[in-house]
């Protein structure tokens, strides 16, 4: 139940977003995120987009490791 699913926003309409998670599409609530646009990536939990995803994990890892000492 408690699994976060990264998904791409396809369409936003009246507080709901149609998202595409590796091909699986469904409507989720977009009420927690302002100014969501098609093409944005979000983290979906139990039918609700809870956070925006900024960037990929490769860049993130490099930044953190470079900053380590």
């Amino acid at each position: 139940m408690c699994v976060g699913l990264p998904a791409r926003v396809v369409k936003v309409h009246q507080g709901m977003a149609l998202v595409d998670a590796s091909g699986a599409k469904r409507e989720v609530s977009a009420e927690l995120l302002d100014e969501l646009d098609p093409g944005d990536y979000v983290m979906v939990h139990a039918g609700m987009a809870i956070a925006r995803i900024n960037g990929d994990d490769e860049e993130e890892m490099d930044d953190i490791l470079e900053d380590l000492d």
Binding site: M1, C2, V3, E31, L33, H45, M48, D57, E60, M61
Partner: protein, 351 residues
């Protein structure tokens, strides 16, 4: 671009030669991903990973299942629930068992789906089993807020929502560093985790991919050698310092803190959430006058010790014999996110 000076996460992890370290993760998805990706095998032998109380199904007490079964069988309500709760044993029956005696149990992916079901079936009474941490609580709150707005009265929540910060405090002597749950932090921000440093508790927020988990372990093993408590957000592409203000406001509007029982850990004061009085009409306990039910777990089940890192699943006398994913006794075996389920599934990879 990686510079030639940057050590890779793998090098940092493999070259760790410091004192023994206990790292506790408190997220069911971390439990499974760490096993699935084989990260345990690359950790030096003095680094121990403990699966703490991070799976919402696993920490839900037996008495809660009994309440749901009572509602389904005595009151004839339709139970809408996440699928992993259905086979969790109650004192006498699981919801699956209740269903075989005629109970109506619907599996949903989201509390919002449960609310839609209620709107489409106005002649039924719908109770959604509202378990979960700060990641799953916002959609529950939204569902009940929408029900109040729309004056939909055949929908209510049986709450067992929990919040993580008190659990970190309760578990702080069981671990040397926490792998904080990335998506709880995405909602709540990192303030609670940063505050743990003042109590001498270290930890990093971790994401869920191989790169993110490796980075998180590398940061812990590097920083812990300095001997000072630390905090680092290792999942900045999703987690911000502030978290989601909208989600926090939504939760504060609909729910208020309460004492909560955690399976195996007992009652942790102010670690749960219940509906505010304004939402009493959508609170299943008030609506149906559920009697006080004291759940009885199988006394041989060691889920509680496992959640505290006091033993590993294979040390439980029931593990893999009496208790399997097909015939689970304890919640940690039922839920796919539970530690026992992970040990069972990835049996060849454990240590």
């Amino acid at each position: 671009m990686r510079t030639e000076y940057t050590q890779t996460a793998l090098q940092i992890i493999r070259s760790y030669d410091g004192p023994p370290v206990r790292i506790m993760e408190v997220c069911g998805t971390h439990t499974h991903e760490i096993f699935r990706l084989g990260i345990r095998q690359i950790l030096p032998s003095q680094v121990d990973v403990i699966s703490g109380p991070g799976c919402p199904v696993c920490v839900t007490p037996v008495g809660y299942i009994d309440e749901a079964v009572w509602l389904a069988l005595e009151k004839g309500v339709t139970i809408c629930t996440f699928g992993d709760l259905v086979r969790v044993p109650g004192s006498t029956l699981s919801l699956a068992g209740a269903r075989s005696r005629g109970a109506h149990v619907e599996i949903v992916y989201s509390p919002l789906d449960a609310y839609d079901y209620a709107r489409q079936h106005r002649d039924e009474e719908i109770v959604f089993l509202s378990v979960g941490f700060e990641t799953t609580t916002p959609p529950s709150c939204l569902a009940v807020r929408n029900a109040r707005r729309d004056s939909v009265t055949n929908f209510s929540l049986l709450t067992a929502n929990k919040t993580m910060p008190r659990a970190y405090e309760a578990m702080k002597d069981s671990a040397d560093a926490f792998l904080y749950p990335g998506h709880v932090c995405a909602v709540m921000g990192t303030g609670d985790c940063e505050a743990m440093v003042q109590q001498g508790v270290s930890g990093v927020v971790a994401g869920f991919t191989a790169k993110e988990l490796m980075t998180a372990f590398a940061v812990i093993l590097k920083k812990i050698q300095k001997g000072e408590p630390f905090f680092k957000n290792c999942y900045p592409r999703v987690v911000t310092r502030e978290g989601s203000r909208t989600a926090k406001e939504l939760m504060a509007d609909v729910m208020e803190p309460c004492d909560a029982e955690w399976r195996g850990l007992g009652c942790i004061p102010q670690s749960g959430l219940q509906l505010r009085p304004a939402y009493a009409a959508w609170d299943a306990r008030k609506k149906y006058g559920i009697p006080l039910i004291e759940g009885r777990a199988n006394p041989a089940c060691r889920c509680g010790d496992i959640l505290q890192g006091k033993c590993k699943p294979p040390q439980c006398p029931l593990f893999g014999t009496v208790c399997t994913p097909e015939q689970p006794v304890g919640a940690c075996m039922v839920s796919h996110e539970g530690a026992c389920s992970a040990y069972y599934t990835y049996g060849g990879n454990i240590r």
